[in-house]
């Protein structure tokens, strides 16, 4: 069922409706009863939308976890961090991305790239967890040139 408006151009500039009604064309779709909601990516990556925020990555200390510069982070504040979680924390008034690791009373902010060193958090450091990152989104189109370079090496 679609609403359709047909017009005929008359002498003047005014449009005169020729036919104006709901048109019932043919039989109703046999699949109408089977209609379901389309897959909703939001529902998949956000468990609790009211506690979910988004963030952008600058830097490469988490490349081992597959997180690259300019990637989009889903940050869920309803989750409590477990060892090994990727977290957004606040360190010295700045948002920082690392992996969380707690051992005894010590908390560590661990990079996932051997070029970086772990950060130890104790009572003297101003540190807190801002949220846990359950999913990340990468723009594959933007990485096309890097990828082409690598592909060409294969063929050589």
């Amino acid at each position: 069922m679609k609403e359709l408006l047909l017009y005929q151009r008359g002498e003047s500039e005014t449009l005169i409706p020729l036919y104006h009604d709901k048109i019932h064309a043919g039989f109703e779709s046999p699949a109408a009863d089977y209609e379901e909601e389309r897959i909703d990516l939001n529902a998949y990556v956000t468990k609790y939308p009211h506690a979910t925020f988004y963030a952008r990555v600058v830097g490469d200390c988490m490349t081992g976890s597959g997180i690259f510069p300019d990637d989009l982070l889903v940050v869920d504040r309803s989750l409590t961090p477990s060892n090994g979680d990727v977290v957004v924390g606040i360190l010295n008034d700045e948002f920082i991305l690392r992996s969380y690791y707690k051992s005894g009373l010590r908390e560590y902010l661990m990079p996932d790239n051997i070029a970086y060193k772990p950060i130890t958090c104790d009572s003297s450091t101003q540190f807190e967890i801002w949220g846990v990152v359950p999913y990340t989104i990468m723009d594959q189109k933007r990485r096309i040139h890097d990828r082409l370079d690598r592909l060409q090496q294969f063929l050589r």
């Binding site: 005169i16 925020f53 963030a55 600058v58 510069p69 700045e94 948002f95």
Partner: protein
Amino acid sequence: MIALIDSNNFYVSAERVFQPKLRDKAGCVLSNNDGCAISRSNEAKDMGLKMGTPYFAMREQHEQGLVWWRSSNYTLYQDMMRRITAIVKDTFPDQEIYSIDECYCDLATFGHHDIEQVAVAMRAKILQYTGVPVCIGIAATKTLAKIANKIAKKHYKKTGVFLMDTPNKIERSLKITEIDDVWGIGPRYAVKLIKAGIYTAYDFTRLPEEYVLKLMTIQGRRTWRELKGQRCILMEYERPDKEGISTGRSFAQMETELAPMEEAMAFYVANAALKLRAQNSVCARLFVYAQTSLFAVVNQKYCAEIDIRLLVPTSSTAVLIKEALAGLQKIYRPGFRYQKVGVELRDLRPDTQVQASLFEPAEHAIQHKQQSALKIIDELNSHYGKDTVRYGVMGFSKKWAMRQEFLSRKYTTKIEDIIIVRAY
């Protein structure tokens, strides 16, 4: 019991969630046009910075780095408010959103629970999920809940919750509540009462009911009864469909020419029309006004308004802009320095009730076509950003626009504005 959930220094708290460097420092959020402080951090309050302190009075402290400030970022606050009220609703479903930072909840269905414990847990949840601290006051009536909330804010900072449930607690609370802090008692009555030796809410409840009625009419008696624990102010769950939609703001600087005022007016009408369509309504009347500053010298003062009746009720941006601009042209007088123009859409009706005017059947058909065009425009604008598709008169200069020099980003509603996280 009724709970009042109130965000602490809401605008300041919302800014701090996304700007950690603002935490633990004195600062404030400024009013429209960056006029004066309307939300202050606790540190700013401790410094003696008063509500409504004009921007220029804080300039020196700002330059010395003692006070930070931000323009009001209502887009951000509105989204944070939506998050908080949704979390509250998960626990207390009978909710009335009273203002951008307050909501009342009726806890009648919560009889068998430990309300205090539930409230403490909910407060912790709101703080964790959104980063915004709230306080919760629980008492028998709305007026008492307001007092309980203030006490929670002042004396129960750790849990942020105060349950005012026993006669003893109520009496102690009323005794430390000054009369001018009672919800429903305006400044004029407060002065009267203080003159009569009524200093606290407790003193007020000791007055005979007839005396209160004589002195302050039924409004005063209602407050008196509420303080005594009788519910007089009921919960308002469904906000009745707004009676009118109004938009209009002060210009960044005074305007003398018609053109920039028309541009501003077109913007306001477009915004109002969008709201109108969002609630599936049309309007039958337009109220357009223009005014100079209230503080202008007598013979430079001018204020005019015009009420326009539409032949066919509509929500069409084009029609409404046309009518509003025609109205503005009628009331505009050259030679004045205008401070503000605005528009109110009135006589709202559901859009299903629209009847074409008897004399203009063709109009109806055109409107129908416009309706679908508008739907597309609304969709484009919600997808690509407000006012991407706009009417020519709205222009692009926006010189008249509100001053917001210290505006933070739209961290939660615009993908280009999300927080940046350091991974190096």
